[in-house]
């Protein structure tokens, strides 16, 4: 984690501004702990972050074993929404929770920008 704490809020702002995004979090990939969050009421940040980190770790190992390299972005699709994640080089996951009608391409772009800020 290389950015100052104030930068985290700005990074999350970039994501939550996108229409249909219900919240965003920075999560420690190693232990699944929330580093910063901007979530709508009702979203259980700590639980979601723990599961997202666990899922990210499994996915990373599987992708590396398959020879496609480290994951740059992943998108868990569900009937009523989605979880979108970009791992940073510094071991943080930039996570967005979104409605089903979200513009995935736009969120991906903002997640990648946020990941650059967070480092």
């Amino acid at each position: 984690m290389t950015a100052p704490a104030a930068a985290y809020g700005k990074a999350l702002d970039l994501i939550t501004r996108v229409r249909s995004v219900r919240g965003a979090m920075l999560v420690s990939a190693e232990d699944g702990i929330v580093v910063a969050e901007q979530l709508m009421e009702g979203i259980k940040g700590p639980a979601v972050s723990a599961l997202a980190a666990s899922l990210a770790a499994r996915l990373r190992r599987a992708m590396e074993a398959a020879g496609v390299g480290a994951s740059l972005f992943w998108h868990l699709q569900a009937e009523q929404g989605a979880l979108l994640v970009v791992p940073t080089t510094g071991g943080t996951l930039v996570v967005a929770v979104a409605e089903p009608d979200v513009n995935v391409g736009l969120v991906r772009l903002e997640l990648l920008r946020a990941a650059e800020v967070v480092g």
Partner: protein, 273 residues
Amino acid sequence: MPDEIKTLSSQLAQDPDSLVFLRLGELLRHKGQLDTAHRVALTGLERHPHLPDAHDLYARILADKHDYERAFDEWDMALRIAPDHVGALKGLAFLYFKIGDVQQAAAHLEAAQRVAPDDPGVAQALAMARGGGPADAEALTAPEPIAPAAQPLEEARVFAGLEGAQEGLLLLDASGRVLGGALKDSGGRDVTDAVAAYLAGVSQEAARTVKLLGLGKWTGLAAEGNHGHVHLAAPTSDALLLVVRDRAVPMGRLAVIAQRAALAARRWLEAHA
């Protein structure tokens, strides 16, 4: 297609050991650039002499160039490596048909049909071999994708006829046991078991995550990697499907491939329940 040829050529230049030569050779063949396709296939074959798909590709190009004797040798070699290789069986059937040996042609097509019962090309060719005359032989040469390499019969049937069935599609049960398909990395190494082990439990974890978020059932997980893309789907609540492709395949296209494979997997699982 020209863009894809350019992309694949670039990938191959960066990683000469990559298996993209199979797709590139086939695309060049389809475009009628047989000399270039020949060079690509031969170079690939030199690097992957034990890969049946490489012999199959080379044989197709040789057949297009009317070098039937060498094409026969290459398909014969593919079958020695992988006795159930559908492409090689079809290729040899074509050559037998070409010389008028309809009985041998039909025998090879019947063998291909046992491995890939859902392959419409095999059924069509078999109908021709059984009922057609020499004029029908050319129909057996129609361009088609590279056929999957041989696998144990039950596994091959899960994704029969689907693109990349033996190198980029994998069906697992909830505990990570492989039910069908296979995975190879860019060096041609079989990584099926390693990937399956890491994916055990992913389906349940994805389900728990979306449940916690109140998002209903999970329908898919798409991921971009440095060198390729993957797509996970759950054909049934107890199974997990993985599709892997290189970065040249857009994520949207990958989702379509995954949908088709998930449908095939669901049918197969229901039939074997």
